[in-house]
């Protein structure tokens, strides 16, 4: 059986979990076994709907204490459940929480693990999983040599596959160890899709000259319904908040569309965005290295190009 860890935040199932279930279901089909999900805590969502992504059952530990995330507690429960349910593969989303739990589960199950997988394993000769390495500059095919396997899947690399199944819900009675962590506050960035989950991203660099000039970029993001990101010097200078910093030492993202405005395209920046499906670069310097990594390019002054692009998008949306 393939067991998929469902990540929730504030009693809402994360989008990354839908992708993890889609991946787990495809893997289960390939292995000729079932795909079952494991949910810790209670959520506002309709849990049976996880069947849409291919889970036949959802095992739920219905304990409100689990609505607060503790990596150690989660790992204990997932490993115990995986053992008692007889899971042969445990699948996680490679998001913040998934990353914190999957390796600990691998230790507890004495399982080989591949984190940041970007495709289904090949299972004809050994169990081989491909993952991105060197911050997206290469792939490694890694064979897992243990009977039980743990995989975490890179966000936006497999996609959400949804059909019309419903899952049966099984209550899982488990003793929940007490958490040593006391959460004292949570601050959410309001009204914006988290960068890691965004399918459209508009990003700005030093070329925008200062925080007072971000309006053109924000207008474009608003017109598109996109999330916003920035290069490292921009967040270092506090022009934009740290959580917007993408790149090798920031967040790595893989949206459908990444629009880079006034960003030169340094190798460390590209490492965080090179898995984007489509890259648009707007830069006044035709020699900017980013053009080599782009699908579409506009050579021009951002302060002229971006407002016209925003207008064109609004026009196209109004016309459609």
């Amino acid at each position: 059986m393939v067991l998929i860890y469902v990540d929730q935040d504030d009693q809402e199932i994360k989008k990354a979990s839908f992708e993890a279930i889609s991946y787990g279901a495809a893997l289960a089909k390939q292995l000729g076994t079932s795909a079952e999900a494991l949910l810790l805590g209670n959520v506002k969502d309709n849990v049976a709907e996880l069947g849409k992504y291919g889970a036949s059952k959802v095992h739920q530990v219905n304990n409100a204490a689990l609505n607060i995330f503790d990596a150690s507690v989660n790992a204990n429960l997932v490993a115990t459940a995986a053992k008692s349910l007889g899971a042969s593969v445990v699948v996680f989303a490679h998001n913040i929480n998934g990353r914190a739990v999957a390796p600990a589960v691998a230790v507890k199950l004495n399982a080989g693990i591949v984190t940041g997988a970007c495709a289904l394993p090949t299972t004809d000769a050994g169990f081989v999983v491909t993952k991105t390495v060197f911050s997206g500059k290469a792939f490694a095919s890694i064979q897992i040599d243990t009977p039980i396997k743990v995989i975490s899947i890179n966000q936006n690399s497999f996609g959400i596959v949804s059909g019309d199944g419903t899952a049966s819900i099984q209550n899982l009675e488990m003793e929940v160890p007490a958490s040593k962590l006391k959460v004292t506050s949570v601050e959410k960035i309001k009204g914006e899709v988290p960068l890691t989950e965004a399918s459209l991203v508009v990003s700005g660099g030093r070329g925008l000259k200062g925080p007072e000039h971000w309006g053109v970029l924000l207008d474009l993001a608003k017109a598109l319904g996109a999330s916003t990101a920035c290069s490292r010097p921009v967040s270092d200078a506090d022009w934009r908040p740290h959580h917007e910093h993408v790149g090798q030492t920031g967040i790595q993202i893989a949206p459908n569309l990444y629009i880079a405005i006034g960003i030169s395209g340094a190798i460390q920046h590209l490492a965080g965005v090179n898995r984007s499906k489509t890259i648009v670069v707007i830069n006044k310097d035709a020699e900017a290295p980013f053009f080599k990594a782009a699908d579409y390019g506009v050579i021009g002054d951002a302060f002229e190009v971006v407002p016209t692009l925003t207008a064109a998008i609004l026009k196209s949306k109004a016309g459609a």
Binding site: H94, S141, V280
Partner: protein
């Protein structure tokens, strides 16, 4: 308070990524090695800041790697830290590395273990979580701030789309990222002092890995950029809609 800082060596961010031996090994030819940026900029500097506030703090650095990691660990010692331990194991299987670190950590009874968010070469983001299971100690991932007040630690961590603050008692394991501390440059005094700081070498004890790297590949090159005239943004919108189908 005793702190253990996990230091790994990675190729410089501008290194050419190529492979040898039938694409089964990373080509180290001409590669410059650096301290993994997360370890250097955030974990290590945070530990140094804690010691600056409270001189009774003891900082040990640990690296799991061959003799070729010694320049990296000396460079880390030049920034700070009292002594270093190198476990002579060249495996790059995370589970092997974590088990080696856990053995040292158990012996040293550390109050705080700091790792980076991930290494920038294999991007496993695994060691902290594995240590959590091996040592049965709380693990807080993606930490962006840490304040100590006696035995109570207040930690801020990144969550999807926000930040969460929690309190707990030591011991804890954190994986550190941007926000935790400000990058520092080693000074001459630090570099001199690092030469005489103790660097203990411990023999490897873990042999069996659970995974094997079969091969590496590099992604296919982009087919080339399609330039759109700056005066014709309607065309860019059309391409994004009809050709790329992303909006």
């Amino acid at each position: 308070m005793k702190i253990l800082v996990c230091i790994s060596k990675t190729p410089d961010t501008t290194s050419k990524i190529a492979f040898t031996e039938g694409n089964t090994k990373f080509d180290e030819n001409g590669v410059q090695w650096i301290i993994n940026p997360y370890d250097e900029w955030y974990s290590l500097v945070k530990a140094i800041e804690l010691k600056e506030k409270d001189p009774s703090v003891i900082i040990h650095l640990i690296t799991v790697g061959g003799a070729d990691t010694e320049p990296i660990i000396r460079k880390a010692l030049a920034l700070g830290g009292d002594e270093a331990i190198r476990v002579n194991n060249t495996s790059n299987d995370s589970m092997v590395v974590a088990q080696e670190i856990a053995a040292i950590a158990k012996e040293g009874a550390y109050d705080l273990i700091l790792t980076g968010k991930e290494t920038i070469d294999y991007n496993s983001a695994s060691i902290g979580s594995m240590l959590c299971a091996l040592l049965d100690t709380s693990f807080i991932p993606n930490a962006i701030a840490l304040d100590m007040n006696g035995n109570i630690a207040t930690i801020k961590r990144e969550i999807d789309g926000g930040e969460e603050t929690c309190e707990t008692t030591l011991p804890i394991i954190l994986s550190c990222q941007k926000g935790m501390a400000e990058q520092r440059i080693p000074n001459m005094r630090g570099i001199m002092a690092a030469r005489t700081k103790p660097l203990k070498v411990v023999e490897a004890t873990i042999k069996n890995a659970n995974t094997t790297i079969k091969k590496f590949d590099t992604p296919p090159a982009k087919s080339g950029v399609k330039l759109v005239d700056a005066g014709n943004m309607d065309e860019l919108v059309r391409l994004l809609k009809e050709e790329a189908k992303v909006i």
